[in-house]
Symmetry: C2
Subunit: 335 residues, 2 copies
DNA sequence: AAATCTGATGGTATCGATACCATTGCCACA
DNA sequence: TGTGGCAATGGTATCGATACCATCAGATTT
């Protein structure tokens, strides 16, 4: 016995003395079947341990009940929470999640989109907003509803759920300026294909320009370090070399901020007295009982939830949804 | 036009003046088609933007090229790395990942297994090792290969890839004992269905027993806190109340350890001078440039990779694989 | 009493691929 | 010259469900 034999709908039907179609109705639209028949069929289903073959169902109904999601990386825990939100909401509506990764590379994304489309998903969630031409063509001709998440793109494909990284960067920088900080640097990690960090940096720059505070200092994290915290530590050191009178740094993410904080305390620099440090992300480790980091929090889980709701609800699917869920400047102990 | 029209294999075949089956061969087994025909078909595929319908293929070939994965939670970044490993390896072999979550609840897991089986996956990866009877029955009768990961279970269903949490707990405790620590407490979070933490605690207990150091102190983290770091902070405070002469704590995870460290520094307790603190997990934040935490590291990504390889390779699939990937005690600054 | 409706059920075609077997043409070898 | 083998390709049945339409009994309407 190499191939496991699955119980089919016909097996159930025969055993319960009904037509296949009635079994199908018991599963999909129970209200259309008489109480008595339903009970009988349900008993047989349990008895035989019948598990409907969704792939067959997908083929004939032209609905797969699968949503494909494409994320840049899973390591970043902010993505993890979005996946959580997606997963939970989808399951509640009887959908499932097909997950793929792009590693921030548009080429890989294109390939992944193609593979995902091969499964005929009822919707697609894309965490990146930079797409190749062939990816766009593929998406357009497939007609599959798409939700882009995290960043509000300039030219949305279809639906969007996210927030403005630009405004987030600007907001946190404005806050530092209002707190009388004079020399504010930005520590980023310029991964290709990651527009989010760049947009935050742009917000930072514009806030400085606007305030007349003058010169901006963008430190490009050394990607040869394996962890973002390492990048933050070395970036902070660099910034201090360039600007000895540095009194604030805006970090592109919470882990980077963590590295910066550690480096600062290693040098005996007092936070927030001599130095203000801010992050992005609302990671758990940023909380009061841990880093106590002043940071921008995003509703990661909610982004996933809302994206799922749009895709699942045929009505919402009609129109283009652009949802800005905003962000929150959380003031804690580091700035 | 409500329903998008997909290009089918027949469309391609007609256009290229061949039979459908030849198109199928061009895609699955190109070497069986003459060079010239292949080129012609490939041109048409590109021209029409044909994307094969994998669900249909799955139905007729009885192979879905889908692997279902069931994880307790995604928030924990150690799981994230496993998913990364899985995802990467599967994609390389032309498989895809269907993801579901159990939230540490066996009931939810059972339901999720049923739904996953509905998609007729070629394999299943389970991150938990506690299963309900009906889940076990379902798995057995489906005949789908299963890999249990992370914890080496007492009664494996099929394949296993993981390491011994018990030994990990024992190893780190032994290390503390050898470092002349006298009063060692354990801070855990007893989530239902999470055997891993319990096994670590058992290792801790046995290490103490064995050394003749006497009394163990197990602090059960207050789950009403939303973050593990908060649990660590409050757990540490509790431990100190019970044992004022405390000089070491074994924390069930890195975030918990982080909370404990912060609480310690808030109280002016010196680490590692007065107090040793260890974690579990090898999180990024534990690294040198950040927490500099002494901890047990697991090969999270590799677990995913190996699990995927077992499921994808028909040969390995034959026999039961029990793979112990071990762990690593990483000595850093906190113990 | 005939016509109409409604709820419950079944039959058949169909979704888009692959499996399996058949066919064709060509070459090599006895 | 005939036979066997092989490479390339095609035809048809099939996978397991759902869509669509048909049927039929019994109730309701006129």
């Amino acid at each position: 016995m190499d191939k496991p034999k699955w119980v089919t709908m016909k097996d159930v039907a025969d055993r319960a003395n009904v037509g296949k179609i009635t079994v199908s109705r018991v599963i999909r639209t129970p209200e259309k079947v008489s109480q008595e028949t339903r009970r009988r069929v349900e008993d047989v289903i349990r008895e035989l341990g019948y598990v409907p073959d969704e792939t067959a169902g997908a083929l004939s109904s032209n609905r797969s009940r699968v949503i494909g999601a494409l994320v840049s990386t899973l390591s970043d825990s902010v993505f993890a929470s979005t996946i959580e939100g997606l997963s939970r909401t989808l399951r509640q509506s009887g959908y499932e999640l097909l997950l793929s990764k792009t590693d921030y590379e548009p080429e890989l994304e294109t390939a992944a989109i193609r593979t995902l489309l091969g499964r005929r998903p009822d919707g697609l969630v894309l965490s990146s907003t930079d797409h190749t031409d062939s990816a766009l063509k593929l998406l357009a001709s497939s007609g599959v509803p798409v939700v882009e998440i995290w960043q509000l793109p300039d030219h949305p494909i279809d639906h969007v759920v996210g927030f403005s990284n630009y405004h987030a960067g600007r907001t946190v920088t404005d806050y530092l300026i209002q707190s009388s900080r004079q020399r504010i640097a930005f520590i980023g990690t310029s991964r290709a294909g990651d527009r989010r960090g760049k947009r935050r940096a742009e917000g930072y720059r514009d806030a400085l320009m606007n305030s007349g505070l003058g010169e901006a200092l963008y430190i490009d994290g050394d990607l040869s370090f394996s962890s973002d915290a390492d990048i933050g530590a070395s970036g902070f050191a660099q910034a201090l070399t360039r600007w000895p009178d540095l009194d604030a740094v805006v970090c592109v993410s919470d882990p980077v901020a963590m590295g910066a904080i550690c480096e600062a305390s290693r040098r005996g620099i007092q936070i927030p007295g001599q130095m203000a440090i801010t992050g992005f992300g609302g990671l758990e480790l940023a909380r009061e009982s841990a880093l106590n980091l002043t940071t921008i929090e995003f509703p990661g889980q909610k982004i996933g939830k809302v994206a799922a709701e749009i895709l699942v609800d045929p009505e919402q699917n009609e129109r283009k949804n652009i949802v800005d869920l905003g962000f929150n400047l959380v003031r804690r102990g580091t700035a």
